[in-house]
């Protein structure tokens, strides 16, 4: 098995190189103003949505529990982080990363509070109760003084300026890459196997010594943590947040990204988060029909490919390269023997 490990190591390396390459290309394009301000903002939003989709994918795709309140955790994270940077009086460069950690932790705390009672339920019931939770959080934020009610918070400073347009993008990109990496490694470990086993057959999993309650809660809280972090970046990117930005539609939007990409496929979530963030921006004139288009897309996908575009399959560039090289070496070997 040393062979496999060596190969996995190479795969990791290739992926890391690709991620860095993409990062430097985008960063240079942004810094040289080839990608304009609006497009930079869209890129950042794509990264934020990737974090949200990939983390929801962990609960919905890997654990197999339908959750409709992801925007609620995002709201908790957004307000926590915004209130922290606005009130702490530290330099934003230091305050922002701290605020993101706090955002994640706060969302995780809410994840525990809601998860303990909610995860006793399954399927549709869990969906309903998480939906209710998302709405409750929103209504509370709508009525509290500290959150400034329906007016929301404004004047949240962004790290990006006209002179230096890239910092928010750097944060969002790095966090998205980190989230994808962590979700991947989590899924392929003994803990991930336990979670998948629960999805496959909860009774059997418990009979094989898996503490199902613990793992369900853990996964739920982990996803909430990342949603909180995404909310924190989102608040500082947008600059103005109010509870209506985190309503039920937002939760559904994230869920659609997961379902469309394929439940259980991380790369699927990344691709669909990218497309579904970019596309509406291109179709701004038709924004009225966005939800209509969304539902039509969903219906079509459910009709023709119920498991989502990628199903549980993961796209792997290193594997692709591997096959390509194998084919090339085979061909050259053939021509050589043919020549002789």
């Amino acid at each position: 098995m040393g062979y496999l490990k060596k190969k996995t190591g190479v795969y990791y390396l290739i992926n890391a190189v690709l991620v860095f390459l993409l990062f430097f290309v985008l960063l240079n394009l942004i810094n040289n103003r080839i990608i304009n301000r609006t497009s930079t903002q869209i890129l950042t939003l794509i990264c934020i949505n990737i974090i949200l989709a990939v983390s929801l994918n962990l609960v919905t795709g890997v654990l197999g529990q339908l959750v409709l309140g992801h925007a609620g955790f995002m709201l908790v994270g957004a307000y926590t982080s915004a209130l922290f940077t606005m009130n702490i009086g530290l330099d934003l460069k230091i305050a922002f990363p701290i605020s993101l950690v706090l955002a994640g932790l706060m969302a995780a705390v809410f994840g525990v509070i809601i998860g303990i009672p909610a995860l006793r339920l399954k399927g549709d019931y869990l969906a309903i109760i998480t939906l209710g939770f998302g709405e409750i959080i929103r209504v509370i934020a709508n009525n509290l003084k500290i959150t400034n009610g329906a007016m929301g918070l404004s004047g949240i400073k962004s790290l990006s300026t006209t002179k230096n347009p890239s910092p928010m993008f750097i944060y969002a990109y790095a966090l998205a890459a980190l989230t994808v990496f962590l979700m991947f490694t989590f899924g392929r470990s003994r803990h991930g196997r336990a979670v998948i086993a629960i999805r496959e057959d909860e009774i059997a999993a418990e009979s094989m010594g898996i503490n199902t309650t613990y793992y369900k809660l853990f996964t739920f809280v982990l996803a909430a943590f990342f949603a909180g972090v995404a909310g924190g970046v989102f608040a500082h990117q947008i600059g103005v947040i109010d509870p209506s930005k985190f309503d039920f539609n937002r939760s559904v939007e994230i869920l659609i990204m997961v379902v469309l990409g394929g439940m259980g496929s991380i790369t699927g979530s990344v691709i669909s988060a990218t497309v579904l963030t970019w596309l509406p921006e291109q179709l701004r004139e038709f924004s009225k029909y966005r939800l209509l288009v969304y539902s039509i897309i969903l219906i079509l996908v459910m009709l023709f490919k119920p498991s989502g575009l990628l199903g549980r399959y993961e796209i792997s560039i290193p594997k692709f390269l591997d096959k390509l090289f194998a084919r090339i070496t085979k061909k050259t070997a053939k021509t050589k023997t043919g020549g002789a």
Binding site: M1, G2, K5, Y12, L182, T185, F186, S189, R190, H191, G192, R193, A194, I196, A197, E200, D201, I203, A204, A205, E206, S207, M208, G209, I210, N211, T212, F218, R312
Partner: protein, 252 residues
Amino acid sequence: MHLLLTKDLSIEFGGLQALKDLHIEINNREIVGLIGPNGAGKTTVFNLLTGVYLPTSGAMRLEGNSIIGKKPFEINRSGIARTFQNIRLFKNMTVADNIKVSMHQNMKYNTFSAMFRLPSYWKEEKKVDIKAREFLEIFGMEDKADQLACNLPYGQQRKLEILRALATKPKILLLDEPAAGMNPTETQELMEVIRRIRDQFNIAILLIEHDMSLVMNICERLYVLDYGHLIAQGTPEEIRTNPQVISAYLGS
């Protein structure tokens, strides 16, 4: 001391007395059969022993320690593993992963080392991979290790379920109709395998089975249930000639 002991074990579902005053004992390295007509309460016994149901009254002890009120995963960790009557494999996981799930409880690396791929992850994963493949060799299934469990033929799915239960390192193995759906040759092979498992792993086995040739051949003692009551117990010879058992099966 008995390995497993139940005393006056009873359970009611609403008004239905599914099991009444069950008293069974199983010793180390014993192969014991649990038989009875359909609906006698055999699987209910398994569900009680593994913590799926909570008994209405009575006691269950594993090596002298009460296991009543423990959750299924705790009971499994204390040494009782089972298979299911209708196969419950993790269908969309590979055959090797099915076994690795069972080994989860004996692995140590934490979530942090898993998520950041620290050396302890690599070390333990490598070890568990080798071990899982060794387990598959018991049934000669090592070449199927990387297939999805749902793609296995029926007989091998049954075998994989037994292996998955064994991988939790049980002291006693509960087999719920292991020969269901197998042809006579496969059943014959299964008998050999059950004996081999007992000798190799030094565990006790309690099995539910309708195939009388299998039961009479490999079980050292039998318990017979009918309508939730224990109607007979003893060696296969005694059971074969017991008038109560015959009337339960054939009607009087």
